[in-house]
Subunit: 509 residues, 2 copies
């Protein structure tokens, strides 16, 4: 690999990533700061910068640099090898899709989103159906152009979870379902149930802000390289490891929403802040996949933030911040924040049922892309499946197959990354416990830095060096499995709900 | 003018302006939101977008579009004519400066700024002198490449005040000096002096924010197309007429700083919000010059914000917002906010002495660029002149010729726009009073919309259609004159300070 060629290549790569980081900032500003009247100009700014980045990515210059670098032995330099491999992937995906197809998708998405908003409002699936049909056709074309080995859905999932194979994901998800469906049913009829009213005690927004800041810092979030703002939908945006911003929203009568929301976004942010700054604006300082990203947010929100150990230390500060919780017992708080209840709406779901919501969507999407499920049959298939998985039935399609924005955006293959995140999180966390026997004690003393640093060393600082499956194997010594996730949920929830051990309850059913 | 050629041209123009608006947002974010650690990445983002805009501006495509459009008769379409003329000017200025010269300037500026910071800190002019010499040489080269008619300084001033001629500016400034130097001296020895301690009464920052918002809205600022934040140095940024943001800073023990600062920035913002949105991202929705921009901020801050009429309406709300002012009399407040006092530091100067600070710099800069004043002689020339104009003597160069950042940035020709702004403001305001006989009564009833709308119709909505001199002529029916400014100051200040009419006091001296 000629060092001059590589250095020109690296310069082009940094330009592409930097342009995208400008897009990210424009988006952040749009969600948090932008005056309402300037939506149109912002759309023009975003289109201009996106076009600039796309031109750079699909340029003949980058293409020929990649050609030159492909022939060189680079295995001894994993930084260069990673950057070349990942840019090759980005370049290939970008040049394989003709501009006309990209434009047709953008146009269809714009119309589909508009139709979806109205369809959901009136629970009128027929209004949305033709748009969904059009997007499925377009996305099948995308899959064909990108190419796939096992099934077209792989090519779509690959955009969000590079290298993922639907059949393998399916196999793991089936194992999860087999274990969680009976667990959810058992919890529903469990002898003990949490008092959820304590979660609705009034907590002034100013105090919530202050406490969230305290928690974010305790988790290891660096406010010198980030900030926390308010937006309608919470998110995390990174422009470089030194500028990673999170948002939340506040409800005076439901404080856990922002509290756990912030822990979730901080989890995303620690991943981005943990990238190696010397590789900024290259794949070596970019996240592996949406699933791995989600594993970081879920781990801090759930494995850490909903654990008894965590609240042994942080419950006192919480009560000091919110006098309305003064008479609440630690046990009741921990039980309440681990509430599990089958529900219809994904975004309101708990840690256990959330995954089942996702698996339902994953199954339907795969069948849709394979042409095994017709658009007109989706509502029925949805309702049948949600009943089987969670024992609940939507009153109408607004509560059913029209609830999510994703399909109107044509983003098939995105949903499974949420559930993969939960599985990765549990497997990584189990490994951390094994390698750090003192971990639970540390957490219960409020010492969260060792876990952050372990994640940084094992996951964050490697950027895109490993694909998700490879990373799981490297960090935990085995491939992705449903077991750590199922074990984690059973170990935490069965005692809370007064259920016997696993075998016993499964036997009951 | 072929409509297809023009429409391609307009598309390129909008791209250039849109890219610059992205730069503006990156700068705004840097000053208000950016986490401290990400300065380096932000510099990369800014350089990338600036380079992109520069490439577009100096592209062969734009050059040949301008060639094609030059031959066409366009005088019947002033929108197209304005856009072509102004893009021609931008293009010419950009292509006349070779990349190497631009880079040498950027490098010299970076070093000069660093040296200036230290030189000012230690009041060590010798440390800064060689950098100043280097920048003067480079800027003389710029002037030669840009071209000039009367003197090289014109080419430099032209960057900030297109079409301005130093000799003409000089003639007007001399008239101003002749009138203001004796006025300042008379005020210094005047029988009545304001009680400035009332300006230092404690005013909680939260209340200041609230009151500033109220005042900004009263002046006609549209918060749906803007926002107000905090920054170290107050400024106004526009990305389009629908996104015009202002900043301020707060001092609990000196409320007038943010109050008048906000009125000043709102003045800038009303100009930008008043542009015609249908011409967004073209010269037809861009400001005429820095001087015209400053005229809008100065008018709202001074002609309106420091007038007795204004406070007849707004003093009660002010006292309600700040109980510490409850016992202050309206007359004492108006007198205090119109305090005039010769001082050494420009940025702390009042409405009268400010202009004299500027004229001193303008004279020195012109002589420096002409090679009539050697770098080593600047401190002495500075001190001699400030004594003549204001009767004060700097203890050292930090209080003298090292006080401003401008020269370390190589921005010779910028200073005069501040004073021009004051002159334009007075002339426009005098015209507004003439055309709206009820103006003072409206202001004293808190009705500020008529003045804003008059400015919008006469100035804002024309964008760059007229050059500054032409605009003054069009709006007021005569060329720029010192008279309205001098008349305005005499009319306001002589009664406050208990001085006789103008002839009388001038006679005293």
């Amino acid at each position: 690999m000629s060092s001059e060629t590589y250095s020109t290549f690296a310069q082009r790569v940094r330009e592409i990533y930097t342009a995208r980081s400008v897009e990210a900032l424009l988006d952040w500003d749009l969600e948090t700061c932008m005056p309402p009247k300037s939506a149109e100009h912002r759309a023009n700014q975003l289109a201009l910068i996106a076009g600039f980045a796309h031109e750079k990515l699909t340029s003949d210059e980058l293409g020929s640099l990649l050609e030159k670098l492909a022939g060189s032995p680079a295995s001894d330099d994993f930084v260069a090898a990673t950057n070349v491999r990942e840019m090759r992937r980005m370049y290939d995906r970008a040049v394989k899709l003709p501009t006309d197809l990209v434009r047709r998708i953008a146009r269809s998405v714009a119309l589909a989103k508009e139709a979806w908003v109205k369809a959901r409002k009136d629970s009128d699936y027929q209004r949305f159906a033709p748009h969904l049909q059009g997007l499925l056709d377009l996305k099948r074309e995308v899959a064909e152009r990108i190419g796939w080995k096992t099934e077209p859905y792989d090519a779509l999932m690959d955009e969000f979870e590079p290298g993922a194979v639907a059949a393998e994901v399916h196999a793991v998800f089936e194992q999860v379902k087999k274990e969680l469906v009976p667990l959810v049913a058992a919890i529903k009829d469990a002898p003990r149930q949490p008092d959820l009213s304590i979660l609705e005690r009034p907590c002034p927004v100013d105090k919530q802000k202050e406490f969230n800041r305290f928690i974010a810092e305790a988790l290891g979030y660096d406010f010198q390289a980030g900030r926390m703002d308010i937006s309608a939908h919470p998110f995390c945006t990174s422009t470089c490891p030194h500028d990673v911003r999170i948002t939340t929203r506040y409800n005076e009568r439901y404080m856990p929403s922002s509290l756990f929301g912030v822990m979730h976004e901080v989890g995303h942010a620690l991943y981005e802040q943990g990238m190696d700054p010397q590789h900024a604006a290259t794949p070596m300082a970019d996240s592996v996949s949406l699933g791995i990203h989600e594993s970081q947010s879920r781990m801090w929100e759930n494995q850490v933030g909903r654990s008894r150990a965590f609240w042994r230390h942080f419950f006192k500060p919480l009560q000091q911040a919110f006098p309305s919780l003064a008479d609440v017992k630690l046990d009741d708080w921990v039980f309440a924040v681990n509430n599990v209840r089958p529900s219809l709406i994904r975004v309101e779901a708990d840690e256990v049922t959330y995954g089942l919501h996702i698996m339902l969507r994953f199954d339907l999407e795969r069948r849709m892309i394979r042409n095994e499920l017709a658009v007109r049959d989706i509502p029925q298939a949805w309702n049948d499946n949600i009943r089987k998985l969670l024992g609940v039935t939507p009153k109408n399609d607004a509560e059913g197959c029209l609830q999510d924005i994703h399909w109107s955006g044509g983003t098939f293959g995105y949903f499974p990354t949420y559930a993969l995140g939960n599985l990765y999180a549990a497997q990584f966390f189990a490994q951390a416990r094994q390698e750090m026997p003192d971990l639970e004690q540390q957490i219960s003393r409020g010492e969260l830095r060792p876990l952050r640093d372990w994640l940084r060393e094992k996951i964050h600082r490697h950027g895109k060096r490993y694909r998700a499956g490879e990373l799981v194997q490297t960090v935990t010594g085995r491939p992705l499995s449903h077991q750590p996730f199922v074990d984690y949920l059973n170990a935490k929830l069965r005692p809370l709900y007064g259920l016997g051990d696993r075998g016993q309850v499964t036997g009951d059913k």
